[in-house]
Symmetry: C2
Subunit: 324 residues, 2 copies
C-alpha cells in the first residue's frame, strides 16, 4: 500500500478504477478523454444524473461501501422509474486528502459488486481534489423504443402500486441521528436500510404495464403528488394497504414514529407506479416470480389532491423549500 | 429579484435552467428525473465528463460568465477531439450560499449564448448546496459510425498539426497570479484568454482525415506524448513552425516567458492531431474556409520520444504527479 503522499491520479485509475470498465471497447481502456455508447437495435437510451455530497447525503465516517451504494442506488432508481435497465455510468470523484488506499479499495469493491449484480460498467469520469467528498454520476440505460414510462401518464381508475416497504431508510437516518432510541437488533436493521438503500430494479419488467412511475426520493406523498399534480386527477390511498415491515409496524404501534411522518419523509428508492386494472395479474406475477414485494395501495381519482382514507393530505413540495 | 433566502430549487429551475432545454422533447420539460437521447441514423454517440472546482479551475470572484465558459469549453474540446459535434449536456451544480440572482443570471446567459453558438441543449442535471462552487457536466456528441478519432491511431510519417496559438491561457493565468508583469493592453488580452478559453470546435470536420487527436489540457508536450507513448513511435517538432500570437512572441523575445515553459504548461483546449500527408490539402482548406488557424508543426517518427529540432524533450506526465 502506498502512503497518501504517493497517490497519483494515474495510480487511482490503474489500481482502482480500470477494473470497473469490464474491458468494454466503449471505454477505450480509459485512454481517451471520451468514450462511446453502443445502442442495441430497437432500444432508446435514457440518461440520469445525480450527485451526493458529504454532510448532506452521507457522513464522513460512513463506510466507503455505503457511499458507493448511495451514488449507485440514487441513479439506478431513476433509471428503473423510466422503465429502463442500466448499461453504463460515469463517475466524477472529488476527493479530499483524508482518502487513502483502504478507502479507495472498499469504495471500488462495492462499485464492482453492484456493477456485477445489476450488469453495467464504468465508461469514464474524472478525478479532482476537494475539501469534502462530492461524487457526481451520469447513468445510461436502455428501454424499448417508445416505451419510456412517463411521470404524467396516469389515468383515472388506474391502480396505484408501491414496491418494497415504506420509510425504512428514514427510520435509519433518525436512529443514526439519535432522534429515535431502539434496541440493538432494531438499530442494526434500520441503520443498514439507511446505509445500504436498495432500489427497485425491475422497472424494465413493468414497462409494458405502467402508465406512470416515479422513485421515492422526497417521501411517498410528495412523489405520488408529482404523478398527479400536472393533470386534473388525484390519488385515493387506503391506509391499511400501505406496506410496512414488521419492525416499522412495531415502532408505529409503540408511538416511537408516526406513519404520517414516514409518508412525508424518506428516500426509499422504491417505486410508485400506476397501472390499468386489467394488468393487475401481470404485476402480481412479476412480484411473485421475482420474489419482490409490490403492493396495490390505492387508485387514481378524478379529483385533485392526495387522500388517505378520504382525508385530504397537505403536501409539502420539498423542491419549493429554500435552497439557500 | 428575490432575496437569497427565498431562492428555492424550483425557482432556480424555472427562472434560470428551463430556458436552457430549448423545449426539446428529450428533456420532458425537466419534469422527469431522467431524459432520453435521440440518435440520428448512422451516427454514434460520444460521451465525456468534466468537472470544475472553485480555487482549482477558477477563483470565486471570477465573472460567472467565465465559469460558465470553462465548464462548456473543457467538455467541448473533448467532444471535438473525438471527431464529434455536440448534441446535449447535463449539469450538476453544487452551489454555496453566496450565489444570488445576479450570479445565476449571468452564468445561465453565458450558457445560453454558448448553446446557441455551438448548437446543443441542456438535457438534465441536479442542484445541491455546498461550501464551494463545484460544477460537473456530462456531454453527448455525435460522430459518423466507425469514425471516432482515437488517441492511438497515428502512424509513422503522419504530419502533426496544431490548432490556434500555444500558451495564451497559461500566460493569462500567470498574469492573473501576478507572476508576470505586462502593460494594460497585454494584461487585458491574456486575462481574456484565461477567463474565456476558446476550444477548437471543428473536430467533426477533420474526422475523415485525422489518424489521432487530443485536446491540449496538460500542455503541448504532455498531450502530444499521449498520442505516441503507447506505440513504438515518437514526434519530431520544428521549433520555428510552432504557432504563437504576436503578443506571445513579444513576451518570449523580452524573456518574460520561455517557449519551453509554454510548451510544458497550459490548458489551451486547442487540438493536436495527426494526418497522413496525402490529406494536407484538405486540412489547409478546412483552415482557410473556416478562418481558423491550423498549423503543421512536425512529423511522427519511428523513434520513441518527443524531439524539438532534434533535441529530446523530457516529458513530465502530470497525471503521475501526487494527487493528494
Amino acid at each position: 500500500m502506498k502512503k497518501n503522499n504517493q497517490i497519483s491520479e494515474q495510480y487511482i485509475i490503474n489500481k482502482y478504477l480500470r477494473k470497473l470498465h469490464f474491458k468494454k471497447k466503449e471505454t477505450f481502456d480509459f485512454k481517451n478523454d471520451a468514450s462511446f455508447l453502443k445502442i442495441p437495435k430497437n432500444k432508446q437510451i435514457v440518461i440520469t444524473n445525480d450527485s451526493i455530497l458529504e454532510e448532506i447525503d452521507f457522513f464522513i465516517n460512513d463506510p466507503p461501501e455505503s457511499i458507493a451504494n448511495k451514488i449507485i442506488t440514487y441513479n439506478l432508481s431513476d433509471i428503473s422509474s423510466m422503465g429502463a435497465y442500466p448499461y453504463a455510468y460515469t463517475l466524477s470523484l472529488c476527493l479530499p486528502k483524508k482518502i487513502n488506499d483502504n478507502w479507495l479499495n472498499k469504495f471500488t469493491k462495492r462499485l464492482f459488486f453492484l456493477q456485477k449484480k445489476y450488469n453495467f460498467f464504468l465508461i469514464g469520469g474524472d478525478l479532482s481534489k476537494s475539501k469534502k467528498i462530492i461524487i457526481s454520476s451520469s447513468f445510461f440505460g436502455f428501454v424499448p423504443k417508445g416505451k419510456i414510462i412517463n411521470r404524467t401518464g396516469s389515468l383515472k381508475k388506474h391502480d396505484i402500486w408501491v414496491t418494497g416497504n415504506i420509510g425504512e431508510s428514514t427510520i435509519g437516518l433518525n436512529v443514526r441521528k439519535k432522534n429515535i432510541k431502539v434496541n440493538r437488533v432494531f438499530k442494526k436493521y434500520f441503520l443498514n436500510k439507511y446505509l445500504y438503500p436498495n432500489h427497485f430494479s425491475l422497472g424494465h419488467k413493468i414497462v409494458n404495464y405502467a402508465s406512470s412511475a416515479i422513485d421515492i426520493s422526497d417521501g411517498f406523498y410528495g412523489d405520488l403528488n408529482k404523478l398527479v399534480s400536472e393533470k386534473n386527477i388525484g390519488a385515493q390511498i387506503e391506509n391499511k394497504l400501505l406496506p410496512y415491515s414488521k419492525r416499522t409496524i412495531n415502532l408505529i404501534k409503540r408511538k416511537i414514529i408516526t406513519h404520517d411522518y414516514l409518508l412525508s419523509a424518506g428516500d426509499d428508492y422504491e417505486l410508485i407506479f400506476t397501472v390499468d386494472p386489467k394488468y393487475s395479474g401481470q404485476i402480481k406475477r412479476i412480484s411473485k416470480f421475482n420474489k419482490v414485494k409490490i403492493t396495490k395501495v390505492g387508485k387514481i381519482i378524478q379529483k385533485k389532491g392526495i387522500y388517505l382514507d378520504n382525508k385530504k393530505i397537505k403536501i409539502i413540495n420539498k423542491s419549493f423549500k429554500h435552497f439557500f
